[in-house]
């Protein structure tokens, strides 16, 4: 199946997977932080991979990205992307103590560890939703954290879709943490391995 051939019904099904996944992720994040978390309406879009770099913002925007890789019945990569500033804010919320007097290198490690854990919980909840919906078993890797340009993160997403075609089917959802001084908005991007989305759609019966 070429990526462009997905029907509206199938896109709706993928959107619904994103919806349930994000709902789970929002609940998990809310429990972790003890704060209200809002979620946006998920988007499932077919996008030419060549337009991905600038699709969600300026390519040089500094972002923090957490990636986990799921294997098993539905091999895919899940990526949680958040503006660098908001990511630091989120890490501080989780650490919940003043670490500014510590060694700078140690501060970075603590924030990265916190961000990895946030990503792990959000993306793990997302995976669990897919698993409950389908009965799939999808063992997940530990999280990998990167601080980089938005364009570079999307460059990798584009390469994975680029292996089999020229279009990406991207599920993107947003999470917003409430009651904090700085606005914390993050996006979850689901990147199925080449060919694995078809398996998921078959399982969903569309």
């Amino acid at each position: 199946m070429e990526w462009g051939d997905f029907s509206n019904l199938q896109l709706d099904a993928v959107r619904e997977v994103g919806n349930i996944g994000t709902g789970n992720a929002a609940t998990a994040l809310s429990q972790l932080l003890g704060r209200a978390v809002d979620m946006g309406v998920p988007e499932a879009d077919l996008i030419p991979i060549y337009e991905l770099a600038g699709r969600y913002g300026s390519p040089e925007t500094p972002v923090c990205a957490v990636l986990i890789r799921a294997e098993g019945d539905f091999p895919c990569n899940l990526i949680f992307v958040i503006d660098e500033g908001a990511g630091q804010e989120l890490a501080n919320l989780l650490i919940a103590m003043d670490i500014s007097t510590l060694d700078p290198e140690l501060q970075i490690q603590m924030r990265d560890s916190a961000l990895g854990e946030v990503g792990n919980i959000i993306l793990g909840a997302f995976l669990n939703a897919i698993s409950m919906l389908t009965g799939y078993v999808m063992p997940a890797s530990v999280p990998a954290v990167a601080h980089d340009m938005l364009g570079s993160v999307m460059d990798i997403v584009a390469s994975i879709f680029g292996v089999i075609g020229d279009t990406a089917l991207l599920v993107k959802t947003s999470l917003q943490v409430k009651d904090v001084e700085c606005e914390v908005n993050g996006n979850v991007i689901m990147v199925p391995d080449p060919g694995s989305l078809e398996t998921l759609l078959q399982k969903l019966g569309v």
Partner: protein, 164 residues
């Protein structure tokens, strides 16, 4: 010398020029930015390579997408603008692996290393000397190639700019 035009080379794009230009690619991750130029005839080109090998794919809509199609097409376009094969030089940047999952080789995430290898192999195949490179590592890069100063500046977030 003033730079007359800035050209953004997007994913899988391929551009060749004969006039003063700034060839720019923002946010390279695992992809490769390759420039090939003939300083004597003042001709240069850049390609934004995404994947190593077109034989893994079906149709090739954009030759700039794969190392094995981008390098020959770029050479063809440079030659059409008057470049001579014996004058050509190349510089490359990119091919990072930004996400490292401990204990996993994770094939699709490690495409950067294969991109570097394939791009070098095709440059060597066409006898284009690689005079400078900034490749691999775990950070994304933005690159600018100045025609006709022939310097490739590579910017890494949080690290700075280096000139190749």
């Amino acid at each position: 010398m003033t730079v007359a035009q800035t050209i953004h080379v997007g994913m899988a794009d391929l551009v060749a020029v004969k006039v003063p230009s700034l060839l720019v690619t923002l946010g390279l991750g695992s992809c490769i930015g390759v420039v090939i130029y003939d300083p004597r005839n003042k001709v240069a080109g850049m390609a934004h390579i995404m994947l190593p090998d077109s034989r893994d794919a079906g149709a090739v809509l954009k030759p700039g997408k794969f190392a094995d199609t981008a390098v020959p097409r770029l050479l063809q376009e440079l030659s059409a603008l008057g470049a001579l094969p014996s004058n050509l030089q190349a510089k490359i940047a990119g091919g990072a692996q930004m996400f490292n999952i401990p204990g996993k080789d994770s094939g699709l995430l490690a495409v950067g290393a294969r991109n570097i290898e394939a791009t070098k192999r095709w440059l060597a195949h066409f006898n284009v000397p690689l005079v400078a490179e900034d490749t691999g590592g775990n950070k994304g890069r933005s690159i600018e190639f100045n025609v006709p100063l022939w310097n490739l500046s590579v910017k890494v977030l949080g690290v700075g700019v280096k000139e190749l």
